[in-house]
């Protein structure tokens, strides 16, 4: 579904990604882990072209993308992204947040979009909040709205960039629950997270990124019980 080949990315003199290869199959849930600064979030942002890669190749759904020649908006519409800080639009109600892109980008009729929006809000358990502004929501509710907003564009793959890192501990569960449900429905997902319990339960594959390269890629059982790389062993000890 998403293939990255030999991805290099630098910020000035700092090389953040040093030739990363990643192949995410349809309906696969891949969890990216690593210490902060390892490049895992940058990799995610490259897949959505919020960062432009310096060299390498990104293929989405069989289509290799040349960011200079193509309409990035069209590509981004197919790749959903959920941010650490939610980034809901504060000047729009919850429902308006969800239907903004379908109406503006897909030119969907407002009535139709509202129906879709309410269905998605029901899915994340927030249909009763449709008409309130984001400032009235808890962090967990905000993130669930952000997920619904992304889903409204019917993306082929969803990227999650530390979706629970900004949440109070008691609110983490409700967001992970929604993500788990999405995974069960067959959504292709790439998730950067520190929630190891989620990784163990939901991931098909866990990938460890260290200093801009992939150093371990295994199913959860092998990743935690039989890690090959020394740094992965250290990391697992640290988080468990």
């Amino acid at each position: 579904m998403i293939v990255g080949k030999n991805i290099h990315k630098s910020f000035g003199d700092l090389e953040v990604l040093k030739g990363v290869d990643l192949h995410v199959k349809p309906q696969e849930v891949v969890v990216l882990v690593g210490v902060s600064g390892s490049g895992k979030s940058t990799l995610l942002r490259c897949f959505n072209f919020l960062e432009m890669i310096n060299s390498g190749e990104i293929t989405i759904d069989g289509h290799t993308i040349n960011p200079k020649k193509e309409d990035l908006a069209k590509i981004r519409a197919e790749v959903g992204m959920v941010f650490q800080h939610f980034n809901l639009f504060p000047h729009k109600t919850v429902l308006e947040n969800v239907i903004e892109a379908p109406v503006t980008v897909k030119k969907m009729k407002k009535e139709e979009a509202k129906k879709l929006g309410m269905n998605l809000l029901r899915k994340v358990g927030l249909e009763d909040k449709a008409d309130v502004y984001p400032s009235k929501l808890s962090g967990g509710q905000k993130q669930r709205v952000a997920i619904a907003r992304s889903l409204a564009m019917e993306p082929k793959v969803m990227l999650f960039d530390e979706p629970t890192s900004a949440l109070d501990p008691e609110l983490v569960g409700e967001v992970l629950q929604v993500m788990k449900q999405l995974a069960e429905e067959g959504m292709t997902m790439v998730v950067v997270t520190h929630e190891m319990k989620f990784a163990k339960e939901v991931a098909d594959r866990i990938i460890m990124i260290d200093q801009g390269t992939i150093i371990e890629s295994a199913d959860p059982k092998n990743f935690f019980e039989n890690p090959q790389n020394e740094r992965t062993k250290q990391f697992i000890q640290l988080v468990e």
């Binding site: 069209k74 981004r76 197919e78 980034n87 639009f89 980008v105 502004y133 400032s135 992304s150």
Partner: protein, 222 residues
């Protein structure tokens, strides 16, 4: 002390019909200065955040020159520079000078407000497949506009008071009338006290309306 009150009262009673007319002129000057300034400010703010070096350079030059010179000089410059060449009333020369002057300050207000919107807003919008133009129009600008309302209100009040400088080219606004009254009646103290009160009341009304509007925005979106 009671004498002063009686004198002020006398000046007030003698001048208020004329002052009412002059107040209309002051409000017209302010309105044109604000509207023109907002249009100019919007254009130059967009130039300043644009990708084009030339547009940014022009905007920077404009803002630097206008902020670096006194309003009274700008009024005189426009009056002698343009009224002499094109036939234009003193009133319009003054109003345009106020607009051009305001434009530089309002451009900076808008620029700051646009750049002050959380970059995450732009990223979220782009990630949903909205293009740059849609992102600006639907996500960034509405939020920037809300942020710019308090400093804009402040700028409007400054404009109201700055409009008094237009008296120098003979526009019959409030201050010029007070000036004339002071000269004719030999009561400068009372005359200027009355005009000060006029400005104060106008500014207070303006501030009150502005606060109502800001509160309404807060209630809507809180």
């Amino acid at each position: 002390m009671p004498d002063l009150f009686i004198d002020v009262y006398d000046v007030f009673m003698r001048t208020y019909p004329g002052f009412l007319e002059a107040t209309v002129v002051t409000l017209q000057l302010t309105a044109i200065g604000v509207i023109l300034g907002t249009l100019i400010g919007l254009i130059f703010a967009l130039m300043k955040i644009s990708g084009s070096k030339i547009l940014r350079g022009i905007a920077n030059l404009y803002i630097t020159v206008i902020r670096g010179t006194p309003l009274i000089v700008q009024i005189m410059f426009l009056y002698f520079g343009i009224v002499e060449i094109y036939t234009m009333s003193n009133f319009w020369a003054g109003a345009i000078a106020l607009g051009v002057h305001n434009g530089a300050y309002i451009a900076e207000i808008f620029r700051g407000a646009i750049q002050g919107v959380d970059p995450g807003q732009r990223e979220a919008s782009l990630s949903l497949g909205m293009n740059r133009k849609q992102t600006m129009q639907r996500i960034v600008f509405p939020q920037a506009l809300r942020r710019s309302i308090p400093p804009l209100g402040n700028q409007f009040i400054i404009t109201l008071k700055d409009s008094s400088l237009v008296y120098i080219i003979g526009v019959a606004e409030i201050f010029s009338l007070a000036n004339r009254e002071a000269a004719q009646s030999y009561q400068p103290f009372e005359s200027f006290l009355v005009v000060a009160l006029y400005y104060l009341v106008l500014v207070m009304i303006f501030t009150f309306l502005l606060r109502l509007y800001e509160n309404k925005l807060d209630v809507d979106k809180a």
